[in-house]
């Protein structure tokens, strides 16, 4: 196998965007290391053909594909078994995994089984003098660590949405279908049920995100944010306290533990600006803060600010946006 292997998966049905982010990272690493790159593609059924095309369209020239009925949402143990089978045939030197729901369990376990070096949650990868470097956020986003990977094999997990999807680079791949026997009865975990929370606009893909914090005071405040977001075709997110309190679904949480967003515009309402929150929102091109405390740390990160009570400011915004849009 080529020296760099991207773990691409369609466990949730389609090839996730984060798999393509890894392809971009692998292309850049390959330019510096010259090891060649391949993808291990995991999933089940008809989606795999489509995923194969998308990978080729983005420059992948070798694909090891496993189609198995257990390779569905959240099935880390099945994914681990499939990867072990692939890597037994051809051992890669560098494995890239997306730190998504499955990947954050998978990467350290794979590293342990391969006796590999491990870097988790990288937000940037590079090559210096033939050596891989990785950067990641530490101390709640207060600092950035640079790690040097001095050993092979190495397993590197990359934070979803930290990297861009690369430009298409159509290629034709050699495709090897790898037959894997996975004994369902032997797997230590099994996903019994997948519960999806409806959202009109996905938080991570929205160009405009409105985040509410503890300052919203309860679930009712979020109704106002939803009204404003609907007018702007945006999505609503939250800091941790509203998610912890059950005012909003946990999947709305933005930040170190929550989601990473990279919208054109992030409007933070009733959020103080803790580094752990901003860690997930610093990729926003423009940050607007609405907070009644003019000394709140959020104003040292925002580009535009309104010092005021959201209960006055947000309704005023809703009214003006309606005027603007003629609704």
């Amino acid at each position: 196998m080529a020296g760099i292997c991207v773990v691409a998966h369609a466990l949730d049905g389609t090839l996730g965007r984060s798999s393509l982010e890894l392809v971009g990272a692998a292309r850049a690493l390959d330019a510096g290391l010259g090891l060649g790159m391949a993808a291990a593609l995991l999933g089940h059924g008809s989606h795999l053909a489509e995923a194969t095309d998308v990978l080729q369209h983005h420059g992948v020239t070798a694909i090891y594909r496993v189609d198995h009925p257990l390779l569905t949402a959240g099935q880390t143990d099945a994914a681990l078994a499939a990867l072990e089978s692939i890597f037994q045939r051809a051992a890669p030197q560098v494995v890239l995994v997306s730190a998504d729901t499955v990947g954050r369990e998978l990467a350290p376990r794979l590293a342990h089984r391969m006796a590999a070096a491990l870097v988790t949650e990288a937000v940037e990868l590079g090559v210096e003098d033939g050596v891989i470097t990785a950067r990641r956020q530490v101390y709640g986003g207060r600092a950035i660590a640079t790690l040097v990977v001095t050993k092979r094999p190495a397993v590197l997990s990359v934070k979803p949405r930290a990297l861009d999807v690369p430009e298409p680079k159509p290629a034709t791949a050699t495709i090897e279908d790898v037959a894997v026997a996975i004994d369902a009865g032997a797997l230590p975990t099994r996903v019994r049920e997948v519960l999806r929370e409806q959202a009109d606009v996905g938080l991570e893909d929205a160009q405009i995100v409105i985040g509410g914090g503890r300052g919203m005071g309860g679930p009712d405040g979020f109704k106002l944010l939803e009204e404003l977001a609907a007018l702007l075709d945006g999505a609503v997110g939250a800091s941790r306290p509203p998610a912890d309190a059950g005012w909003v679904p946990i999947s709305w949480q933005i930040g170190q533990t929550g989601k990473t967003i990279r919208p054109a515009l992030y409007i933070a309402v009733g959020i103080s600006g803790a580094t752990q929150h901003i860690a997930g929102a610093s990729g926003a091109r423009t940050i607007v803060a609405i907070n009644h405390d003019p000394e709140a740390p959020i104003f040292s990160m925002a580009h535009l600010g309104i010092a005021g009570d959201y209960r006055e400011v947000v309704p005023a915004l809703i009214a003006k946006v309606k005027e603007l849009k003629g609704r």
Partner: protein, 264 residues
């Protein structure tokens, strides 16, 4: 059920940014004079253990790896919350070790505790945020693994675990023994110990094991394969432009600015 909860002690992660500094010699956060606390989600993990104990009976052991001299408060809090006993693995380098370096030590400590069905961890340490120890530990002790779990129930001789997913939740069945890493939610907010619990905690057993006694060979630098080259504090450069006036004026002015910036 026998439950081990892995607790890491960290500098209070919510201290103001001005109290944060990196020691260039260790490439880690300066700890001197800063308040030390149990890492945020480890308290949620302990709460989950105590709820399982309340529901069906369990023996809960708190396990922490770090410099013994500094661990007093964390261990006492865990016992006051309701852990039955505590084990301190005394290693002065504890706070600086990477996941791959410490997993062998934690695994040896878990084996020496002996009885365990479930090992609970936090989903990420509040300082280094590696998210590595729970899956590594699961491999090292041959246990099932689920991370970013918010709820855990005993079911059919195993566990039913609610795991956060990108767009909702997964209900995951796990066999025992298992390592489960806990994220916060409304159902696992850490309990506050009462005065009588704090008093009772003083009589609970605490064992201290010097790391050398566990007989774990230290991971050499080459075998580790990762070096921390530098840890830097980025400078923030944004300058906030305040929009003034009455709410209606602020709203109009903000929208105008956003239109200028082609954001609307």
């Amino acid at each position: 059920m026998d439950i081990i909860v892995c607790l890491k002690q960290v500098v209070d992660p919510e201290l103001p940014v001005r109290d944060f500094a990196i020691d260039p010699s260790t490439k880690r956060q300066v700890r001197d004079g800063r308040p030390l606390v149990i890492s945020t989600y480890d308290e949620n993990a302990l709460e989950v253990a105590l709820q399982l104990k309340d529901a069906g009976g369990a023996r809960v052991t708190a396990l922490t790896l770090g410099p013994q001299s500094a661990l007093g408060d964390a261990v006492r809090l865990a016992l006051a919350m309701g852990a039955d006993e505590a084990v301190v693995v005394d290693d002065p380098r504890g706070p600086d070790l990477l996941g791959i370096e410490k997993v062998g030590i934690l695994a040896a400590a878990v084996r020496r505790v002996g009885r365990f069905d479930l090992v609970l961890c936090g989903c990420e340490s509040a300082d280094w945020v590696e998210r590595a120890v729970p899956p590594l530990l699961a491999e090292a002790i041959g246990a099932a693994c689920v991370t970013f779990a918010t709820r855990v129930e005993a079911a059919d001789g195993g566990l039913l675990v609610r795991r956060m997913a990108d767009d909702g939740f997964h209900q995951v069945e796990a066999r025992l023994p298992a390592v489960v890493a806990i994220a916060s939610d409304e159902g696992n907010r850490p309990r506050l110990p009462k005065v009588k619990d704090i008093v009772a905690a003083k009589r609970k057993p605490v064992q201290t094991w010097p790391v050398g006694d566990l007989g774990v060979p230290s991971v050499g630098e080459g075998a580790l394969g990762v070096e921390v080259r530098e840890v830097v504090v980025p400078q923030r450069t944004a300058r906030c432009e305040f929009v003034e006036g009455e709410p209606a004026e602020q709203a109009s002015a903000l929208l105008r600015r956003l239109q200028d910036l082609k954001l609307l």
